[in-house]
């Protein structure tokens, strides 16, 4: 079980309110990702749930019980840290065994769980090594192993992939996803990378300055961002936000159109602009177009074979059904 409810949870460091009172519900078995720019309070929120920080107000319930004052070890949560936080003086086996040793678990059971975790994480051959002798990805797996053996109510991940290189990150992303499917345990995952959020989450929580901007499934956020912040944050390349006359046409302060929802033509279209940089990715081409009023540059995602070059004049037409409208406060107009 792993149902976590935050009620009016608040955190202050001195006089600075890092997290204004917020409510959040995390259901059992859900993969929840906290995402937001650095300094948005997502790690603090995770640490509040973990019990590594005291809340300044509000209540945290885990499986229906008030855990607000419960020390971290007693919350039945396991955490994987950004730096992995492996104990450098212990072998992999001892690292994984540590939480069980602290819980004074029966040694036979300990061994069984270690073997299982090691098998699941491809660590069997490395059990007698020390963290210093492992690669980044292996360390990451040890940290996960240490979390798994406790059979926690929920896993907490604090930017676990940010110390890995790009290729490994993709691999670990899938492994963590697989793990979630297999264990079916609640996972809370903190990242600043919206790609990780989109690919892994059942539910994304977008945070800014301690506020929850929007909660929803990846596609919900993609399709119906509640405000301009979420609109700009979710999706890559970023949504084009256009102000001025073009927006006024739609009775909005700002309109947004994703790069993939713009049609490009060299002959005719709604907006005219000049090609700046064209990034050819093979499968796609990202074209940055200058000279369009209210949004400069505007980014277009075109097919991989599109041949435009710097200085060409092009015409863009937004797909009407994918147009997002926002009011003066930046909120979505339905």
């Amino acid at each position: 079980m792993g149902r976590i409810t935050l009620q009016k949870v608040q955190k202050k460091f001195g006089d600075v309110e890092v997290i204004p009172p917020l409510d959040l519900e995390i259901n059992d078995g859900e993969f929840v990702v906290f995402v937001g720019p650095s300094g948005c309070g997502k790690s603090t929120l995770l640490r509040l749930i973990a019990g590594l920080e005291d809340v300044s107000g509000g209540q945290i319930n885990i499986d229906g019980e008030d855990a607000t004052m419960v020390p971290p070890a007693k919350r039945k949560l396991a955490m994987v840290f950004q730096s992995y936080a492996l104990y450098p003086h212990m072998t992999v086996r001892k690292n994984i065994a540590f939480p069980m040793r602290m819980a004074k678990m029966d040694p036979a059971e300990q061994n069984k769980r270690i073997e299982n975790a090691a098998a699941a994480l491809n660590l069997t051959d490395y059990l007698d090594r020390r963290p210093g002798q492992l690669s980044g990805g292996q360390r990451q797996r040890v940290a996960i192993g240490r979390a798994i053996v406790r059979e926690p109510a929920a896993f907490l991940f604090d930017e676990p992939l940010s110390n890995l290189d790009a290729a490994l990150r993709v691999g670990m992303r899938m492994e963590i996803g697989e793990l979630h499917k297999k264990l079916d345990t609640t996972m809370i995952y903190v990242t600043h990378d919206q790609v990780e959020a989109m690919t892994m989450a059942d539910k994304i929580v977008v945070l800014r300055a301690g506020h929850i901007e929007q909660v929803g499934s990846p596609l919900e956020l993609y399709r119906t961002p509640r405000n301009t912040f979420v609109a700009g944050f979710i999706g890559s390349p970023k949504m084009n936000l256009i102000e001025g006359a073009a927006a006024a046409e739609h009775n909005a302060q700002t309109i947004g159109i994703r790069p993939e929802h713009l049609d490009v033509s060299t002959t005719a279209g709604k907006w005219e602009g000049t090609v700046g940089v064209a990034e050819h990715l093979g499968s796609d081409t990202f074209i940055h177009i200058h000279g369009i009023e209210g949004c400069d540059p505007m980014t277009v995602r075109a097919g991989g074979e599109v041949s435009v070059k710097h200085g060409d004049t092009v015409f863009l037409t937004p797909q009407a059904e994918h147009l997002h409208r926002f009011d003066a406060e930046g909120l979505r107009i339905a």
Partner: protein, 309 residues
Amino acid sequence: MATQSSRSAARIMMAPAVFLLLVWMLVPLSLTLILSFKRFLPLRGDRIGERGDGFGDFLLDYITGFPTLDWVGFQNFASFASSGAFADAVVTTLVIVGGVLAVSVIFGILLAMLLDQPMWGQGVVRILVIAPFFVMPTVSALVWKNMFMDPTNGLFSHLWRAFGADPVVWLSDVPMFSLILIISWQWLPFATLILLTAFQSLDSEQLEAAEMDGAGPFARFFFIALPHLSRAITIVILIQTIFLLAVFAEIFVTTGGAFGTRTLTYLIYQRVLESQNIGLGSAGGVYAIILANIVAIFLMRIVGKNLDR
């Protein structure tokens, strides 16, 4: 950033160290301060309360400010400061501190630069150079005094005779030079080691960039290396100053304060323990504390800045 419980645990765990140091600082300091305003000559019969009354009575005397001793106001401070010995001691102290600092910093930089060069047996040379720092002060003073500076049998006298010169009576003819030599020998390793550490942390790409920019070896030293070392040099100067102000054993063993080698520390020591003029010595102690604090403030600034990184 932590939870309430770990913060209170932290406070409890810090308490013994803080408490002990607080007592260690406040009790002696307040005693020195009180006594510096008192006439206290045990050899002439001045007593703190009645001796043999036990520690409790002593504490009572202490708390009431030693009523059996006469309060003399600033007289001790005035007479300590106006005596010729004080002026001489201040000059001697400054010469020794300044001399040793100059020797250890200048030669320390040169030695550090040398040791930073590629060579065979670098580790061994390092060990040879650092060794004097580990020699206890009484030993180094005694070895230099007798085996090197002794006018009849010392190694220097042999050397001088070998060149047909008259041996120098080091500790009475050139006492300050001799003391600076001995103390510098002890402190040069310290300066060298710290400066070498600083040298080694100098990014060699910076030097290479300077070389590409057309800087010659001297320009590289003065514009790149020296600024990089400035912090380490400041620290060497400050720390050594604090230790050098307190130099004691070297003088105790060699000249015993004779031949104009009486530093402030030694003067106070003599006033307090040899001539047993406690009030006067305590006033001197207060001066010494003030002097050391002036240096300490600068050192703490630097160290404090480093904490914020």
